[in-house]
Subunit: 93 residues, 2 copies
């Protein structure tokens, strides 16, 4: 799970999860909600998934917008952990 | 409450609240906790204060670190709203 993925593996994963963008060693997605309270409900749901996975995205909250960034620092790049969590986060929406 | 503060008013407020730094039209503070769960408890407490004040900081969560930034966009700078919320947030700690 924590082995850095190859370029072709990353390309394969990216083709399967919608709306996430890759930049260098991380993947990110921007979410937009009705208001701050809705952003916070989403962030708490993400936090629950993150704790269960013991894998935590960087989270930026800007009122009704939430920006998530995932990478596996311990592996120095993207791993299955990142794509597994991204997939779970997408399923929240 | 939403009139931009003068330089001397800002200096006065800054001298009264500990640990916040000013950069241009905003004030910011970095908080550090034991772990991600503790960060999330703090962020939810901040979110409650923000909703009551109808004034919302930018919030960046980095596992056990939380970075808050306050400014009054509608006033184009710092107002009493920012310092009132900063004071309430300091009282959480």
């Amino acid at each position: 799970m924590t082995t850095p993925l190859s370029e072709s593996e990353i390309a394969h994963h990216l083709s399967r999860i919608s709306s996430w963008e890759r930049s260098n060693g991380e993947i990110s997605r921007r979410f937009e909600f009705a208001d701050f309270a809705a952003s916070m409900r989403f962030v708490n749901a993400v936090a629950n998934l993150a704790e269960k996975a013991n894998h935590h995205p960087d989270i930026d909250i800007r009122w009704n917008k939430v920006f998530l960034r995932l990478s596996t620092h311990s592996a120095g790049g993207l791993t299955d952990l990142d794509f597994a969590l991204a997939e779970q986060i997408n399923a929240l929406g």
